[in-house]
C-alpha cells in the first residue's frame, strides 16, 4: 500500500495517471418482454486514486452499473477498459481472473460465510488468485489489523456487529490488493455510527491512494467522495 501511495504522490505531481476505468457508450439492456434499459450510453472514467460516488434513486441502475464495472455482468454494447485492458473481447475465464486480481467488492449485505472464521473469510479472496495458503493467512491478519479487527480474527462472523462485519468485508476486498474497490450501498444495513466508521475507513483508503467507487442512494454518503456522479434512469448526469 505504501508503494502505491508513493506512486500516486509522485505521478500527480507530473501528470494525471492512466485511468483505472474507461467506459465509452456502455449499455446494458435486459431482454424482456418488456425490455429493460437498465444502463444506456454511459461514459465514465475513473482515474487512479480517485474516490468517486455514484448516487441515484432506487431502480436507477446503480447496481447494474457496479456489476458491469466489476466484470460480474457483460454490457449489451459499448467499450469498457479496465487498467487499459479491453474487457469486451475477453472470454469468461480470463474475466474471472481479472476480477479476482483487480477488483475488490463490498456489498450492502456483507456476504460473509457464516461457517468460516473472520480470518478465513478474509483469506478466501486470495484463493482464486493463487496465493499460497500460508501467505494468505499472514496477509489476512495484516488486513484485519488495518481495519481494527485484529482481536476478532478467530470469531464467527455471526457474533460480530454489522459495522464489524462490513469492516471484515472491506479487509477481504483489500487483501488481494485490487486496482479498484467497488462498494454497493456499503452503509445500507448500518446505523449512523457504524456507517460513519465505514466512511472513515474509506477516507483513509483514499488517502493511501486506493481507487474507490461507492454506489449509494444516500446524499450524505455520496458527499464524502472526492467526485460525485448522479445516475437517473440508467444515464449519468453531472
Amino acid at each position: 500500500m505504501s508503494e502505491r501511495s508513493e506512486t500516486w504522490m509522485s505521478e500527480t505531481a507530473v501528470a494525471l495517471p492512466a485511468p483505472v476505468v474507461e467506459m465509452i457508450g456502455v449499455r446494458r439492456f435486459f431482454p424482456g418482454p418488456p425490455e429493460v434499459q437498465a444502463i444506456r450510453e454511459v461514459d465514465l472514467t475513473i482515474g487512479q486514486g480517485e474516490y468517486l460516488s455514484i448516487v441515484g434513486p432506487s431502480g436507477s441502475g446503480k447496481s447494474t452499473l457496479l456489476h458491469l464495472l466489476g466484470l460480474l455482468d457483460n454490457p449489451t454494447g459499448g467499450v469498457y477498459r479496465l487498467d487499459g485492458v479491453d474487457t469486451m473481447s475477453l472470454r469468461e475465464r480470463r474475466r474471472a481472473v481479472l476480477r479476482g486480481e483487480r477488483i475488490g467488492f463490498v456489498f450492502q449485505s456483507f456476504h460473509l460465510l457464516d461457517h468460516r472464521t473472520v480470518l478465513e473469510n478474509v483469506a478466501l479472496s486470495m484463493v482464486y488468485v493463487g496465493v499460497p495458503r500460508r501467505e494468505r493467512m499472514a496477509r489476512a491478519r495484516v488486513a484485519l489489523q488495518r481495519v481494527g479487527l485484529a482481536h476478532r480474527m478467530d470469531f464467527a462472523p455471526t457474533t460480530l456487529s454489522g459495522g464489524e462485519r462490513q469492516r471484515v468485508a472491506i479487509a477481504r476486498a483489500l487483501v488481494a490488493e485490487p486496482s479498484l474497490l467497488l462498494a454497493d450501498e456499503p452503509t445500507g444495513n448500518l446505523d449512523s455510527a457504524n456507517a460513519e466508521a465505514i466512511l472513515e475507513v474509506f477516507d483513509e483508503l483514499h488517502h493511501e491512494g486506493m481507487t474507490l467507487a461507492v454506489i449509494t442512494h444516500d446524499d450524505h454518503v455520496s458527499s464524502r467522495a472526492q467526485r460525485q456522479v448522479r445516475i437517473v434512469d440508467g444515464t449519468l448526469q453531472w
Binding site: H67, D73, G100, R116, S125, V127, V129
Partner: protein, 385 residues
C-alpha cells in the same frame, strides 16, 4: 459442508443405506450359497448307499442278501474313498447299561445296537471324541468291544475310555474302546452302541449286512452309483437299491446365480436411491448457497471452480457414505452369520471397492448439481441482498 455435521450425516444416510444393503446382500448371498455348497459337497454329494431291494414292497423282507465282502468289492472301484457295512441288530429285550445289573434291577437303556465293518467309520466321516475305532482284527477275532455314538455315550454316562469301561448288553459285558463325536449321513449311529460284524455274528447271529455306506471322491458319486450293484452282485444287480445324490451341479449353479442376481438388484436399487439422495441434497445445498456462489465468483472463481467445489463435496459425501455403509454391511453379514451359525464369506474386493463405489456414486450424483451451480450467473447470485 464440513462445518455442518448434521447435514453431512443426513446426506450420507442414503448412500450408507445403499452401500450397506449392497454389501450385506452380496455378503449374505455369498455366505448363504457358501453354506449350501459346503453342506452339499461335504455330506451329500459324495455319499452312496447300497441296500437290498425290499421283496414285493414288504417291510423287512429283503429280496437278496448283501455279501460280507461287499466293502472290499466296492473299494476296488476307481473313485471310492471308503466303504463299510452297517446293520441294526435285533437284541430282543436286551437293555444296555454301564455297570453290572444289581440282582433283579433293570435300570438299563433301550439303546439301538448296531454292527459295522472297520471301514464304516471312514465311510460316514466319523470323528472320534476319544479312544479309537475298532479294526479288522477286532472283527476277525470277534472281540467283545464297542464304540459308542455320542448320544448313547451320554445316556450311559460314559465319557472316558482310558479306564476301559464296560457296558452290558443284556448280561454280556463289552469293553468301550471309543466314543464318536460326529458322523454325517447316517445319524442313527449317534444313538447306537456299535460292535464289529464278527462280534455281532457270534452274539446275535447276524446273517448279512443291512447296507453298504460308500464315500466317493467329489464328483464320482454318480459313476459309483452305477457301478456299485454290479460290483457287489454281478449276477443280479437289479435286486440292489442305490441311494445317490441327484445330479445337482447345474441346478445348484442356477439357484445360486438367481439368488445373487436378486441380491445385486436389491443393492443396485438401494444405491440408486442413495445416489438420488446425494443429488437431491447437493442440489438443495446449491440453492441454499447461491449467495456464496455469487461471492466466490466475485472473488475470481471461474465456473469450473464452482463446479469442482460441489463435485468434491459430493464425492467426499459419497466416499464417507460408502465407508460407513461398508462397515454396516460387513457388521450385518457377520451378525446374521453369527445368529444363523454360518461362516461369513465376504469378497475382499467388495469390502475395499464399496467405499470407492460410494465415491463414484457421489461423483455421478454431484455432476448435475455442480453443473447447475456453475451455470448460475454472478449477478443473479448476488441479487436480492
Amino acid at each position: 459442508m464440513a462445518a455442518r455435521p448434521t447435514r453431512l450425516i443426513l446426506t450420507t444416510l442414503g448412500t450408507v443405506l445403499g452401500i450397506a444393503a449392497l454389501v450385506a446382500t452380496v455378503g449374505l448371498g455369498q455366505t448363504a450359497s457358501g453354506q449350501i455348497t459346503q453342506r452339499f459337497d461335504l455330506a451329500a454329494a459324495t455319499r452312496v448307499v447300497v441296500q437290498p431291494e425290499e421283496k414285493g414292497g414288504q417291510e423287512g423282507e429283503a429280496a437278496t442278501q448283501l455279501p460280507w465282502d461287499a466293502p472290499d468289492r466296492i473299494q476296488r472301484l476307481n473313485g471310492v474313498d471308503a466303504a463299510g457295512t452297517v446293520s441294526t441288530l435285533d437284541v430282543g429285550d436286551d437293555l444296555v447299561r454301564s455297570v453290572a445289573a444289581l440282582d433283579g434291577q433293570k435300570d438299563g437303556h433301550a439303546l439301538k445296537v448296531m454292527a459295522g465293518s472297520a471301514g464304516l467309520f471312514d465311510a460316514v466321516r466319523a470323528v472320534l471324541r476319544t479312544g479309537r475305532f475298532f479294526d479288522a482284527g477286532h472283527d476277525r477275532r470277534a472281540d467283545k468291544v464297542v464304540v459308542l455314538g455320542k448320544h448313547a455315550a451320554s445316556r450311559l454316562g460314559v465319557n472316558r475310555v482310558d479306564s476301559q469301561p464296560a457296558v452290558f448288553i443284556g448280561d454280556e459285558p463289552y469293553t468301550v474302546i471309543g466314543i464318536l463325536d460326529s458322523v454325517s449321513g447316517r445319524a442313527e449311529l449317534n444313538d447306537a452302541v456299535i460292535m464289529p460284524n464278527g462280534t455281532a455274528k457270534t452274539a446275535y447271529d447276524l446273517e448279512s449286512p443291512d447296507a453298504v455306506e460308500i464315500r466317493t471322491q467329489v464328483g464320482a458319486a454318480q459313476l459309483i452309483a452305477g457301478q456299485a450293484p454290479i460290483a457287489i452282485q454281478p449276477n443280479d444287480p437289479s435286486t440292489l437299491n442305490v441311494d445317490a445324490p441327484p445330479k445337482q451341479g447345474a441346478v445348484r449353479k442356477g439357484v445360486e446365480s438367481d439368488l445373487n442376481a436378486l441380491f445385486l438388484l436389491l443393492g443396485a436399487v438401494a444405491l440408486l436411491v442413495g445416489g438420488l439422495g446425494i443429488a437431491n441434497v447437493t442440489l438443495l445445498s446449491v440453492l441454499e448457497r447461491i449467495s456464496e456462489i455469487g461471492l466466490r465468483r466475485a472473488l475470481g472463481a471461474a465456473r469450473r471452480h464452482v463446479a469442482i467445489q460441489f463435485l468434491v463435496e459430493s464425492v467426499i459425501v459419497g466416499f464417507l457414505g460408502g465407508l460407513l455403509g461398508t462397515a454396516v454391511g460387513v457388521l450385518l453379514t457377520v451378525g446374521v452369520s453369527w445368529v444363523r451359525d454360518w461362516t461369513p464369506i465376504l469378497d475382499n474386493r467388495l469390502a475395499f471397492g464399496s467405499p470407492l463405489l460410494g465415491a463414484f456414486i457421489g461423483l455421478v450424483a454431484g455432476t448435475y448439481p455442480a453443473w447447475k451451480a456453475s451455470a448460475i450467473q454472478p449477478i443473479t447470485a448476488l441479487r436480492g441482498t
